[in-house]
Subunit: 357 residues, 2 copies
DNA sequence: GATTGGCACTCGACGGCAGGGAGTGCTAAC
DNA sequence: GTTAGCACTCCCTGCCGTCGAGTGCCAATC
């Protein structure tokens, strides 16, 4: 592929850059392969089709373009898109409508999971791609409180709140009988005893407590510990950590005009673990992340691109929001959208935390 | 259409019935139009293709079959399917594996919403169609308890439990400040005051209380009422009442071999309100419900069929589980599956209620 | 030396056409 | 009532020629 190993970006003179840029823009707009003629026609270049063909041939040699078949126009490669994004793209400004839509949605936040749903669904509409949210988990964060509510004779709901604002609730069935008052007391006890620790630390602490002498005599303490262990076990549903919104928005795109491609795409979106893996790998990075086609195994096979951004900061819920779609997408418009949303969410979360302290 | 208005089921002699039955079975298995020859070949009839053609022509006149085009075999109409289901179908017995899979899944129940998800997802796999669940709501049921938990300075989670076992929780933001102890007291107060009433009745009761004299003086009572009203407002998210599971399972079916049909189908599945409408209309019926193609506006357009069953009884959560798929589906296998699942769920719920009383 | 017009070539898309096959309806014979 | 035979219809497939879009290359031009 790479005929010249010492090749790097500035191998492209400004004319080649402009041509590459125009080809990508046109291709993004139309989905078609771009011919030398249509470049000449657009008026940005005072060159004949023949000259443009020479430039295009060079760009193809460098791996930025490719031909679907002889006698077809050119289409950008993943490398082409990458170069475009890194060096050629002029990000659009968000329209007032877009900004307001996002601000409104984020502003009306109450429970973080709900906000994430709504905003990513909005994002999907604005970008006309598939919205994706990677939920924050409680695992690596300190717990603020654990409470218990009697839901039925033998069923207790426990509500765990993390210092990152995430709320998890689950119903546990137990053979032991508890009264409301007991549960309130247990909640207060465990919260005061364990707040500030991670779930894992709490579990270890509780297990250690069972071995202490007190527990042997104190019936109530034993019940408390048993319930507490139940509560912290198996928090964090893996499947549900990832939400995809508006998958139907890609139905109309020309890259999915044949049934085979559509099938493959939908099946791909089922493989949530792969997606989670990718998004998790971005968690440590700040700022907007763009992953194009062959840059990961998953996106390569399906010609996907992912534009995503972390929300929250190191001390807050740490998750990802973004979109996923075919490689051919309006990066210049979508990138700032995702970025803005991520920032808005992070700001919102920070405000909430400050208010609570 | 109906050339003979007084026509009814027994217009079909036993031979015609057998032919109709065989055509539908073969069509369900293959998806192809069925010819007189392939009927003759199957060996069930000691008749020549020519004779079978006569029978088939009759069945077509009666509206049970149709030809996609001249010189094609016959395909069942919705009417044909309806007759098949009502009079000709011999339901399969569930296999041990199927029964066990369902029993296991239902047995491991803890929170009803979770069970519904798991079982309908299982159903989707077993039937190779789209699993559908219509969630029970709290609206028409008496409330058992309402509790409040302090989640953050200005955020309170309230947990509402219905006598039907449904648990709803939501986080409300408030400008008023509450302590844990206050919230526990408020929960006890509202629960004792309002348990046994529906959400709507509770709202009215609370509003009436604000007008009473006591409320003017008692600061705490005012806060209690305000919080209570917040809690019972806007319970019952409409969008989320319907879950579809395993939509990708229909991707491989031949009726969706072209992209256009697939697109239309996926867009149709977005119109959840329509589906909710249909399922709600079944809520009052006990026993298995099968809706075929033109029998409702929604299913007509998209050639869907729905096989669903109510779970729970009059006093319990009342929702629907079932599957949705193309008209051509293995009714003989799917109907007993859905029925069994519905019964298992209902039994489970009844057991739970008894244990709690 | 860069640019360009011209030209041959390639390839996919489209339409018309013929042949084969599958299936039916009808009729006449059994 | 059943069946064989036959004519007819329609779809599907492959074939072929044409058309158009696009390229690569070369020689002429500025």
């Amino acid at each position: 592929m790479a005929q010249r190993l010492d090749m790097h970006d500035d191998d492209l003179d400004s004319r080649a850059r402009e041509v590459l840029r125009e080809i990508i823009l046109q291709h993004i707009a139309s989905g078609e392969a771009i011919s030398s003629r249509s470049l000449a026609r657009c008026g940005r270049f005072r060159l004949s089709p023949a000259s443009l063909r020479n430039v295009m041939a060079d760009l193809e040699d460098l791996g930025y373009l490719q031909q679907p078949h002889t006698s077809a126009g050119r289409v950008p490669t993943d490398r082409g898109y990458r170069f475009f994004i890194d060096h050629l793209m002029k990000s659009h400004l968000l329209t007032d409508a877009e900004r307001h839509a996002i601000d409104d949605q984020v502003g009306h936040a109450s429970q973080i999971e709900e906000v994430l749903h709504l905003t990513s669904s909005l994002l999907s509409k604005l970008s006309d791609q598939i919205g994706v949210v990677f939920m924050p988990t409680l695992l690596q964060f300190a717990i603020r409180s654990i409470d218990f509510i009697l839901v039925a004779e033998n069923k207790i709901m426990c509500v765990i709140v993390g210092t990152n604002g995430v709320i998890v609730n689950k119903v546990i069935e137990t053979r032991l009988a508890f009264t409301r008052e007991e549960l309130e007391k247990i909640g207060r006890y465990i919260t005061s005893e364990c707040s500030g620790m991670t779930l894992d630390a709490i579990r270890r602490r509780l297990i250690r407590l069972t071995e202490e002498e007190r527990a042997l005599h104190d019936e109530m303490l034993r019940k408390t510990i048993a319930l507490g262990i139940e509560a912290v076990n198996d928090v964090a549903p893996v499947e549900h950590d990832l939400y995809l919104e508006g998958a139907s928005s890609i139905l109309l795109k020309p890259e999915y005009s044949d049934a085979q491609a559509m099938r493959k795409t939908f099946l791909a979106l089922q493989e949530k673990e792969k997606l989670i893996e990718i998004l998790e790998s971005f968690l440590s990075e700040d700022g907007l992340q763009i992953l194009i086609g062959s840059e990961s195994d998953f996106t390569q096979v399906h010609n996907f691109s992912i534009v995503a951004r972390r929300y929250g900061n190191q001390s807050a819920p740490l998750g990802m929001v973004g979109i996923i779609g075919p490689m051919r997408m309006e990066y210049a418009r979508i990138a700032p959208l995702v970025d803005y949303l991520g920032r808005a969410l992070s700001r919102k979360i920070e405000e909430q935390q400050e208010r609570e302290l």
